[in-house]
Amino acid sequence: MDLAHGVQLVSFGILAAIAIVAALGVVLLQNIVYSAFLLGGVFASMAGMYLLLNGDFVAAAQLIIYVGAVNVLILFGIMLVNKQQDFPAIKGMWIRKGATALVGAGLLVLLAGTIVTTPWAISTATPTGDGSTLKIGEHFFSDFLLPFELASVLLLIAMVGAIVLARREFVPEDTPTTEEELAFKLPERPRETAAIAGGSQTSPE
């Protein structure tokens, strides 16, 4: 084992330990803020793994998107909600926790066994190394062109949807005035917002 391999092994050990411990922390800790920060740790250690695999672009993307954007967004979300609420203790919670642990452990054993016993077909292509950005770009415009373009529709509609969900709704007057409104009684009419916007209104039902 030469030095490079040694360093790689040690870094892998450290990163893996961080990832596992942080992930356990995300799930087990009661305080949601800790969980959110630990999630950032998981993401960061995953980026380290990618670096170890020579995936420099993927590692950078992982850092920027997950740690920089997603995780920060989660933290913002937590801060904006900012609601302390103690959940009432549930009787026999330990049974559920135990069952969950059992299922989780079983899955772990299954998947680990799978990974160890399977004759994986290792790709024979040479690692790209520094040229990975180029390679990814080539793929985007050749055999992954369709998913790449489709993703733009996905992102567009996700954006539209986010705006729809986030914007303040224009609420029409709730008083049934026209013939049309008298004829229809839809349960999904936004009553709460209507009450704020149009004064007190009795619901049509």
């Binding site: 799978t114 509609i157 039902e205």
Partner: protein
């Protein structure tokens, strides 16, 4: 690889239908931006015209070239995908028709609803033909995310919010599981993402390995969630009850049809060497879906929940055709989905109309409806009876074809279970019919007593009426004229190379037909 050769290899003509829908989506979005709120009066028709254009493009493709592989193997526009894409687009058209007045009345904006719906359609269409893992996943996510958005579209309604959240969480979990399975496949195939190559790689694994089976199970988790087959159905009743009804109509037909297309392609191409295993898993899913869907539907009091459980049960029935794995098996799946399109959307259209006029969807509120609204009563009765498999409606023919194919493939247990559970289903469907038709005037529910005057002149009502009448006519007549659609389904199976490769010739019983000369059959020489 330079641009010219690349462009010639892409074979981009295969996705013209999707292109038309995408264009329509953009027109709807931009048209709303330019014209403002007034655009709501014409946008739905733009969407319908665009979708009809997509149907026309699909039709051209059906008669078109044999070169179906596009985008270097990412998309396969074979006959199978054309038929399923057609079903998805048709379901969207009817959904648009029935949603106009509903969306107007729920006080939300129509153009965004339409664009999200169109995006879901695009996702579903791509899912029907995607033959490469990345495309599959992106298409699946486009469909799913658009569905989540539509589910929570009426955000003033708490039930809609709850439904959206539940759907999102369970959907994300199942997507994640699917993705894990896909990554296992990627590893097993040595870095290949195309389904056919994965299939070859899997068939070359000689020693019995556990990894392909684990991948199969994980992939099926993703599929079964889309099909809402038990035990991956938990989201269905709550989402169906809470979401806006037109969305449910799309989810129950369009999304499900796309899921079936995806299932057929994925399992037949990638898991061809594990056919026994996936048949076994699907048989279990079918048994559970049929029993659970039909049994729980008996106890429902809300119409939407009833239809939710019925859709779980119907998925179970359709799975029989998938498990049969013969030519008529796949053809019966296609034909049943085609039938299901009309009867289920017809049922939902009636539920929409009833809730528009009365604001409720409780089954007991339908009591005595025949006196106030004969058209609604007739259509809902016929659609429900058709779902229950009563002749001469289309559902009977679809079901008998499924059972026929299943029996031919020697799935006796499944077919018998299907027969038994469909008897159970008749009971709960007819409960609604009884509520509407049998109740005397003095037993009429309060809601029906206050039923508004039937008027189709209000904005958005004409399309709804068109949708209802269309579903009524199709449900009553397609069964009697079942020959062309069944031929179409069979042709699509015969013309799809992936299915032909999987159908073992020994299983298909040669069915030849001849006109019998009957008059001499029973002649007796005295």
């Amino acid at each position: 690889m330079d641009v010219v050769t690349l462009a010639s290899q892409l074979n981009a003509g295969t996705i013209i239908p999707e292109g038309i829908v995408t264009l329509t989506l953009l027109v709807v979005l931009v048209g709303d931006l330019i014209a403002g709120r007034k655009s709501a009066s014409w946008l739905p028709y733009v969407a319908i015209v665009g979708l009809l254009g997509a149907i026309a493009a699909l039709f051209v493709q059906w008669n078109g070239t044999s070169d179906t592989i596009a985008f270097l193997g990412a998309f396969n526009g074979d006959a199978l995908s054309i038929v399923f894409r057609g079903i998805v687009v048709l379901s969207t058209i009817i959904t648009v028709l029935v949603s106009i007045s509903y969306v107007r009345q729920s006080g939300t904006s129509l153009s965004e609803f339409l664009s999200i719906l169109l995006a879901a359609t695009i996702g579903g269409m791509f899912l029907c033909g995607a033959s490469e893992l990345v495309t599959v996943f992106i298409a699946l996510e486009t469909l799913s995310i658009a569905s989540y958005l539509m589910t929570g579209y009426t955000k003033g309604d708490v039930r809609s919010n709850e439904a959206a959240l539940k759907y999102l969480l369970i959907g994300a979990a199942s997507s994640a599981v699917f993705l894990y399975g896909a990554s296992l496949l990627y590893g097993l195939a040595g870095g290949e993402t195309q389904l056919d190559r994965i299939g070859i790689a899997l068939s070359q694994i000689e020693t019995p390995a556990i990894a392909p089976v684990v991948a199969l199970v994980f992939v099926i988790c993703g599929i079964a969630f889309k099909l809402s087959a038990a035990p991956f159905h938990q989201w269905t009743p709550d989402v169906y009850e809470g979401s806006p009804t037109p969305v449910v109509a799309f989810l129950s037909v369009g999304s499900k049809a796309a899921g079936f297309a995806f299932a057929v392609r994925m399992l037949v191409t990638a898991f061809g060497s594990l056919t026994e295993q996936w048949h076994f898993i699907f048989a279990a899913l079918a048994v559970l879906s049929m029993i659970l869907g039909n049994a729980v539907a008996l106890a429902q009091t809300s119409m939407k929940r009833l239809l939710a459980y019925s859709s779980i049960a119907q998925a179970g029935f359709v799975l029989i055709g998938l498990i049969a794995g013969t030519e008529s098996g796949y053809a019966s799946v296609i034909f049943y989905l085609f039938a299901y399109l009309f009867m289920n959307l017809g049922g939902f259209a009636c539920v929409i109309l009833f809730s528009l006029r009365t604001g409720t969807d409780r089954i007991s509120d339908y009591a005595g409806l025949y006196q106030k609204d004969p058209l609604l009563t007739l259509t809902l009765s016929i659609c429900l009876l058709s779902l229950g498999g009563i002749p001469p409606f289309v559902g009977f023919f679809g079901k008998i074809y499924l059972f026929w194919a299943g029996w031919q493939a020697e799935l006796y247990g499944l077919v018998l279970l299907g027969l038994i559970t469909s008897v159970i289903s008749i009971y709960y469907y007819i409960r609604v019919v009884k509520m509407m038709v049998v109740k005397e005037p003095h037993e009429m529910s309060e809601t029906v007593k206050n039923y508004p005057e039937v008027s189709w002149n209000l904005p958005g009502m004409r399309p709804l009426q068109v949708g209802i009448v269309l579903a009524l006519v199709a449900t009553s007549l397609v069964g009697i004229l079942a020959n062309p659609p069944i031929d179409l389904a069979k042709a699509s199976v015969q013309r799809s190379p992936i299915l032909q490769a999987s159908i073992s010739p020994a299983k298909e019983v040669a069915v030849s037909r001849f006109a019998p000369v009957q008059s001499s059959e029973f002649r007796v020489q005295n």
